[in-house]
Amino acid sequence: MFVAFEKVFTLANMIYLFKGALISLMIAALALFFGLILGIIGASAKRSKFFLFRWLGNIYVEVIRGTPMLLQILLLFAVMPAMYTAITGSVIRPNVYVIGVIALSINSGAYTTELIRSGINGIDKGQWEAAETLGLSNFQTMKLVILPQAFKRIVPPLVSEFITLIKDSSLISTIGAVELLKSAQVIGNTYFDVMSPYTLAMVFYLAMTLSISFVARKLEGRLAQSD
């Protein structure tokens, strides 16, 4: 089964896999960042006093969470070029990495919306009341009292979200992006042995996810100082 391992385990192949891993990491990081922005917008919409915003926020979260991420990626891959053509009239060859980041960001944003919303709702009502009796406005209370506390609760699940994104970024290999999983497949096709490169890909994924978990635990310890 592993007969070709020595053949596969070359410096060039390792660099190729490493590049794939970096791309996976970059895509996940960008998706986390844009997802966080979407999450802030989504959570604000869901907490809005306007029904329309709450409704839009709910639809966003429910649609994204209720459908497979693979389907969302494939749909965006089909829809984006068509939309571009409809708007500009010209035809483009879509950049699969850009589509990948957009799809993952939209997906992550829905989960982050719920993280932020529950982080804010989890803060004791007394904090709002105390701030109110001291004359702070709603906006000041949110910025100075609620969000700093909610942030501490949001960080740990946000780290899990990052880890999820690193793993789920493998799905964009289906639209042709060469990230870590696809890199392993390419090597596998060259040597007619998928076991060795897949195993190596697992090691790369674990190296990324475990080191993020490690950093996260350190960070949590620091954030918990005032508790």
């Binding site: 904090q127 009341e129 109110e132 001291l134 702070l136 000041q140 700093p148 100082q225 005032s226």
Partner: protein, 241 residues
């Protein structure tokens, strides 16, 4: 200073405060007492707008307290509020707890706010805790910090909502003595409390509530020595031992 004109507050079907009117004069110390669920905390929360009564009017210095009114924040700032569960901001140290609203609401600069904060921390005997986080303080210390935090905003009246009910017995006295000092300095105070000893010795007037209504209102001495209503008498029999 404070006037409640026949206020009624309901929570769904439950009538928490039923047509209550009362007046509190400048410099007066009034204790609201009564069994739990009698509406005394809700009355207090209506005074500073934490609850909005469905009927009736709350007047602060003869100005009606109405949400979204331009005078609303100014009126609220005349009143300090101390909660049963302190509600300090856990992510900031004691000093920052005390300076936050001074800087962002009163527009004081940092140095000035810190000076004022230290002044009041000293008054509640906690200046050496200025840089501690609330989680490092005992309940009694937390409540004294909460009182200092309110005083930093220079209120004209202090409202206390069962300030000692969440404390271990040995910490009650340190909070009550801070309150007693405030009273001696002439601060107007409205106190919801189960501390009958405090009510008897410190209050000018005691208001006894039951089922959302004022049952009896009298000078503190008179009320404890000789309660007029049967309900007040049976309540006192249960709580005084």
């Amino acid at each position: 200073m404070i006037k409640l004109k026949s206020i009624t507050k309901r929570f769904n079907q439950f009538v928490a405060v039923d047509n209550v009117s009362l007046e509190i004069k400048k410099g007066e110390i009034v204790c609201l007492i009564g069994p739990s669920g009698s509406g005394k905390s809700t009355v207090l929360r209506c005074i500073n707008g934490l609850e909005v009564p469905e009927e009736g009017q709350v007047l602060i210095n003869d100005t009606p307290l109405i949400k979204d009114d331009e005078k609303y924040t100014d009126l609220k700032l005349k009143m300090g509020f101390v909660f049963q569960h302190f509600h300090l901001f856990p992510h900031m140290n004691v000093l920052d707890n005390l300076t936050l609203a001074q800087i962002h609401v009163k527009d004081r600069n940092e140095t000035e706010a810190k000076d004022i904060a230290m002044k009041y921390l000293k008054r509640v005997g906690l200046e050496e805790k200025a840089l501690e986080y609330p989680s490092k303080l005992s309940g009694g210390q937390k409540q004294r910090v909460a009182i200092a935090r309110s005083l930093c905003m220079n209120p004209e009246v202090m409202l206390f909502d069962e300030p000692t009910s969440a404390l271990d017995p040995e910490m009650v006295i340190e909070v009550l003595s801070v309150m007693q000092e405030l009273a001696q300095e002439g601060m107007t105070m409205v106190v919801v409390t189960h501390e009958m000893g405090f009510a008897r010795t410190v209050a000018d007037r005691v208001i006894f509530l039951e089922d959302g209504q004022i049952v009896e209102e009298n000078h503190a001495e008179e009320f404890f020595a000789n309660p007029k209503s049967e309900r007040a008498r049976s309540f006192l029999n249960k709580v005084m031992h």
